[in-house]
Amino acid sequence: MLELVGVRHRYDGRIVLDLERFAVASGAAVAIVGPNGSGKSTLLRLLALLERPSEGEVRLDGAVASASPALRRRVTLVEQRPVLFRGTVRENLEYGLRARGIRRTKTIENVAERFALAPLLERRRHELSDGEVQRVAVARALAVEPEVLLLDEPVSSADRAAAQTLYRALAEERTRRPLAICLASHQLEDAYRFADDVRALADGRLSPITPENLFRVDVPREAFGAGGGDLKHVCVGAIEIVVATEKAGPAILAVAPTDIFVSREPLASSARNVFTGRVIRLTHHRGGVVHVTADVGAELVAVVTEEAARDLALTPGGPVVFSFKASAVRVF
């Protein structure tokens, strides 16, 4: 198991990561989602032992891990915009093995086959597309058979087909041998499709609720209306969400998908937030749960049961109404 314990990491005195505990269990598939600048890449670099946390420690199987090559060889990171070394794709795939004093042509050919890289083996980096570079980088990391593979936005440069190839190859790798994968992504759909455990990161901290419907916002100082208490209008995309908060200034706004009522028509209710829009997609999950992603002026996700989705006749492109109370909106 790879874990961060009591980690506070600073750049130029500013705390960029503050985690009491973050663990990736052996063989687990974990996804970290969050907006740009939320600390995902820093988290992965700490897990990869490429940076030492300003406070706290990294543990591997319970023991404090140092940045020695021997420990690093158990955890491999593929960066968001990976770079290839000078030389051919084959030489790149061989790099990690050579670092271990191993020469296994068969391993390289197998990994190239799995990632559809066999025709590219003799090409050099300037002869590859961004998506191919990303695929080579993931294959290069897996060629050394790490126990934990860390992937930072692994499909950011890939088209849909290439992303599918990559995820399929990763899934196959996990069936072949015990491999824990921790993936950072801003695409929730990919995170849910790939991972068993999705965690949200916002401003360097783990979000207390599920990662959908997280927005970086600017909360106004003034509450609205006479006797409005702490009710404020907060702009999110093209809509204004009513929130009950004393907080003002930059903040993270979150609405738990389970707190959103889904209907075809506006409901008479106490909900202060009622938004009409269209369904973008329906994602079916284990346990008869459906995630309804809708454009209601901002992209929001709600959770309903399979039965409710059927009763409401929800279809992509069809009309939908999302309602939720001001008190259901978390600002932190």
Binding site: L50, P69, L77, P82, A99
Partner: protein, 238 residues
């Protein structure tokens, strides 16, 4: 045409004499050129062997006093050659701490002076070259399990053009240097006379044509070494 432009006569004469000296196989001139080449290559090799790793450490290893070390190296770039020669003279003279070596007025003394002068150049330029490499290269090498030496080699391969420039700059600086070579070498005919000290001598004696001829030979030498390095670099890229 040269007659129409009297100022150019000197240069043309120098060039003519340089060609004539080359073709005549003058033993003294060849001896001076070969000694210059020997000193230049030895000092370049040693200054780069020491300076490039220092540059790597300065560029990649965070340590206490790193900024101060960089300042010292950058200041050392501006060391006046004659001052380095004087300090070395003090060390190598019979009463100096290194007098026992009996290197004063030998080509080895010139090499030591040149190393002292070129080492900061190699270190500072190598540090800049390594700092210019995408930091992801180093992180990727490390995450793939490379140890310190393999990581350094990987980074060096990425910085190969800038590092080749370090070698050529150091060589250029060494073969053009005169202050230290004159002070610790003594410009002894057949022993420590290099192209630059010979140029200075013949100029002071009023034999400007010969001085110019030797100057041209020095330029050709520098050109040949640069071309050789570029050919090697081209092969490495193939």
């Amino acid at each position: 045409m040269v007659d129409d432009w009297p100022g150019m006569e000197f240069l043309a004469e120098g060039l003519r004499r340089a060609v004539a000296l080359f073709l005549s196989g003058d033993a003294e001139v060849y001896g001076i050129a070969l000694l210059t080449l020997k000193i230049g290559l030895t000092a370049t090799l040693m200054a780069c062997a020491l300076g490039i790793p220092v540059g790597f450490v300065l560029a990649t290893r965070p340590f206490w006093g790193r900024r101060a070390a960089l300042t010292v190296v950058n200041t050392a770039l501006a060391f006046p050659t004659v001052v380095v020669g004087l300090l070395l003279y003090g060390l190598l003279s019979r009463r100096g701490p290194l007098g026992g070596l009996e290197w004063l007025y030998t080509w080895q003394a010139i090499v030591v002076g040149d190393i002292v002068l070129a080492l900061p150049i190699a270190a500072a330029l190598a540090a800049a070259a390594v700092q210019g490499v995408d930091p992801r290269i180093r992180r990727t090498a490390e995450t793939l399990g490379a140890g310190r030496w393999r990581t350094a080699w990987t980074v060096a391969r990425e910085a190969r053009f800038a590092l080749a420039a370090v070698v050529t700059t150091a060589f250029g600086h060494i073969v053009a240097e005169i202050g230290s070579a004159m002070t610790v070498g003594g410009n002894i005919r057949g022993q420590t006379r290099t192209l630059t000290t010979a140029v200075a001598l013949y100029t002071s004696q009023g034999d400007f044509g010969l001085a110019l001829a030797l100057g041209f030979i020095l330029l050709v030498l520098a050109l040949l070494v640069n071309v050789a390095l570029q050919v090697l670099q081209g092969r490495a890229n193939a």
